[in-house]
């Protein structure tokens, strides 16, 4: 593709310049054996909500870091709001705002001062800044606590205040790194509502998440990333079509103690032959595969480890059209000499797509 140049003439000649252009981005941190970001390219249009979906350590924050001038890439090109962000970071910073993964509010200031000083850093002051701060504090339900020092704020309030702060200088693109990680369900719904509302008013959003529901709920387009690479890119519906079927049936089985000759491989083959089945995978083998680069999740308890049960095997079946035949599948399991431990029916999610692409879960 032809990248937009950052000269004013080119900008005028090409009115539909994208909000973000990333070309062949590579980042290797010093003393690291592998690239944290390993050749990622994408474009975000103005007005779009674009998501980077991937597990911890996939390179999402690093990508956001480069786009927001906070990380210097090893190779690649980045344009933000038509500005070459690597060559002219100061100009790029005018048009962007960042809601980071961890709370970075100014704890020496009150909530309202956090907004006012942020505006002042962007050259906005006086009545204009005060009015905007008050209206954003109201919009984010913080007007009662506006005079509080922010070290007394809960996680949800801090997150709301950081979004309000980001909006003070009317950015063209808002970056949000894991905007709801660690929030309780109610706070998360509130943030989702606010983000939808901002986008409805025309603000472009780039967010990262390791939560497939968040990606599906908010994003027009999602890039699935793992180990610094982009595995797939498309709307949630397009991505879900990459799975072998649109319905799923998850079967957890255990070898029947009376039977000794039964093999999981044989069962998988028989399940695959059921009518309407378009794909079948054995999940436990892939779920236990090592993530490799994933560090410990920050600000969040790790998910409960699956019970160590060597006899337990999980199969995932895909099918089209009608819901899959639970009864038939259950019969095949018991005929093959296995106990059915758990059975779950569902529609394909982005997590299924991720598992299909990588052989691992998102967490």
């Amino acid at each position: 593709m032809s990248a937009p140049s950052d000269t004013a003439a080119d900008r005028a000649a090409e009115p539909a310049i994208p909000a973000i252009v990333v070309e062949s981005l590579v980042k290797r941190y010093p003393h690291r054996p592998t690239n944290a970001v390993d050749g990622i390219s994408f474009t975000v249009a103005y007005g779009e909500v674009f998501g980077l979906l991937g597990p911890n350590g996939a390179g999402k924050s690093t990508t956001i870091g480069v786009l927001t001038t906070r990380v210097r890439p090893t190779a690649g090109h980045v344009w933000v709001a038509g500005v070459n962000a690597l060559r002219r970071p100061v100009d790029a910073k005018r048009w962007i705002a960042v809601v980071p993964q961890a709370n970075n509010l100014d704890r020496s200031l009150t909530a309202r001062q956090n907004l006012l000083f942020h505006a002042a850093y962007h050259g906005i002051g006086g009545r204009q800044a005060a009015q905007r701060a008050d209206s954003l504090l109201r919009q984010f339900g913080l007007e009662d606590r506006a005079a509080d020092r922010v070290d007394r704020y809960s996680g949800g309030m801090a997150q709301r205040l950081m979004i309000a702060r980001a909006l003070m200088h009317e950015p063209r693109v808002l970056f949000l790194d894991e905007p709801t990680t660690g929030l309780d369900p109610q706070a998360r719904l509130f943030v989702w509502d606010q983000l939808r509302r901002l986008n409805a008013h025309g603000l472009s959003l780039v967010l990262t998440t390791h939560d497939m529901r968040e990606a599906e709920e908010l994003c027009h387009r999602v890039a699935i990333v793992d180990h610094g690479r982009m595995l797939a890119l498309g709307s949630p519906d397009e991505l879900k079509r990459m799975a072998p079927g649109e319905n799923t049936l998850s079967l957890a089985v255990r070898l029947d103690s009376a039977q000794t000759g039964a093999q999981p491989e044989g069962l998988l083959a028989r399940l695959r032959e059921l009518p309407g089945i378009t794909g079948a995978e054995r999940e436990d083998a892939v779920a236990s595969a090592e993530g490799g680069t994933a560090g410990p999740p920050r600000g969040q308890a790790s998910p409960p480890a699956p019970e160590a049960d060597p006899g337990r095997v999980v199969f995932r079946l895909y099918g089209e059209g009608d819901p899959l035949l639970v009864g038939a599948a259950a019969r095949v399991v018991s005929d093959a000499g296995f106990d059915l431990v758990d059975i779950r029916r569902g529609r394909v999610t982005l997590e299924d797509v991720f598992i299909h692409l990588t052989g691992r879960g998102l967490r």
Binding site: K93, I96, N104, N114, G123, G202
Partner: protein, 268 residues
């Protein structure tokens, strides 16, 4: 949502820089008494014991308060400026990340570092001015040796001392990890406190040659000697021909290392 920023790009940097200063003024103003107690109590106690009590009980010469005063003044200025850059930077970069919002302001990140140094230097100057006032109270105006004639030179050395403190603080603030803060105090600040020729003139160490040479490694030595030379011209001092270039080199050297450290911490 695409309302153009009302300020032209070039002015925007200055507007941002001004806002950084205003932020630090507001934060310092809010904790003014804590700040002053923190930076003045220790030098004040030193001045009281060595400049008033010891001469009073005959264990030091009455002259000593006059010799001590310029050194205590410099020490107050340097350490205040040093801590005003080092402490917030160690904590911000290592832990709270508060500085990120300022790094995302539309100005070069080096300017954020520059603001830190300049504001820290200003804090050092304020602490120095307070110290002069307190010195007059504790050891008497006759021992403070500040006159209309040397006021300009005293102010000039105060500025140099403040910039030395600010740039050494910038270096420490970007090199030290939060868990090493205690070590920094024990292994860097305490030796600086005692090897800076603040409690004794450099020339008086002639008979303790190795220690005299050691003090030359401490930039505070040059600030103390310069300050004492203008406040007590009658004594022997390190010549200004050495003092001024040494102070300039300390500011430039630590400023440069600190700026590089800052850039590395600010942009990964």
């Amino acid at each position: 949502m695409t309302a153009a920023s009302p300020v032209p790009a070039r002015n925007l940097r200055w507007a941002a820089l001004t806002a950084l200063f205003r932020r630090d003024i507001v934060v310092t103003g809010r904790e003014l008494w804590a700040f002053l107690a923190q930076v003045l109590l220790q030098p004040l106690a030193t001045l009281f014991i060595f400049g008033r009590v010891l001469p009073g009980i005959g264990m030091a010469s009455p002259q000593y308060a006059r010799i001590l005063m310029p050194g205590i003044l410099v020490l107050t200025i340097v350490l205040t400026a040093l801590q005003s850059t080092a402490m917030p930077l160690v904590i911000d970069f290592g832990w709270t990340k508060e500085i990120e919002d300022r790094l995302l302001a539309p100005l070069p990140v080096a300017w954020v570092a520059l603001e830190k140094v300049l504001f820290a230097a200003a804090r050092g100057m304020v602490a120095g001015a307070m110290m002069i006032g307190l010195g007059i109270v504790v050891v008497g105006a006759h021992s403070v040796s500040l006159t209309a004639a040397n006021l300009g030179a005293v102010a000039a050395y105060a500025v140099l001392a403040a910039l030395v403190g600010g740039s050494v603080g910038l270096t420490l603030g970007t090199l030290v990890q939060p868990q090493q803060l205690n070590m920094m105090f024990a292994l860097i600040l305490t030796p600086m406190l005692f090897t800076g020729c603040t409690q004794y003139p450099w020339a008086s160490l002639n008979h303790l040659r190795w220690f005299q040479l050691l003090t030359l490694l401490n930039p505070i030595t040059y600030a103390s000697e310069g300050m004492r030379a203008v406040m007590m011209p009658g004594l022997n001092h390190l010549n200004a021909v050495y003092v001024l270039p040494a102070l300039g080199a300390a500011i430039a050297g630590f400023g440069w290392i600190g700026m590089r450290g800052f850039a590395r911490r600010a942009v990964g």
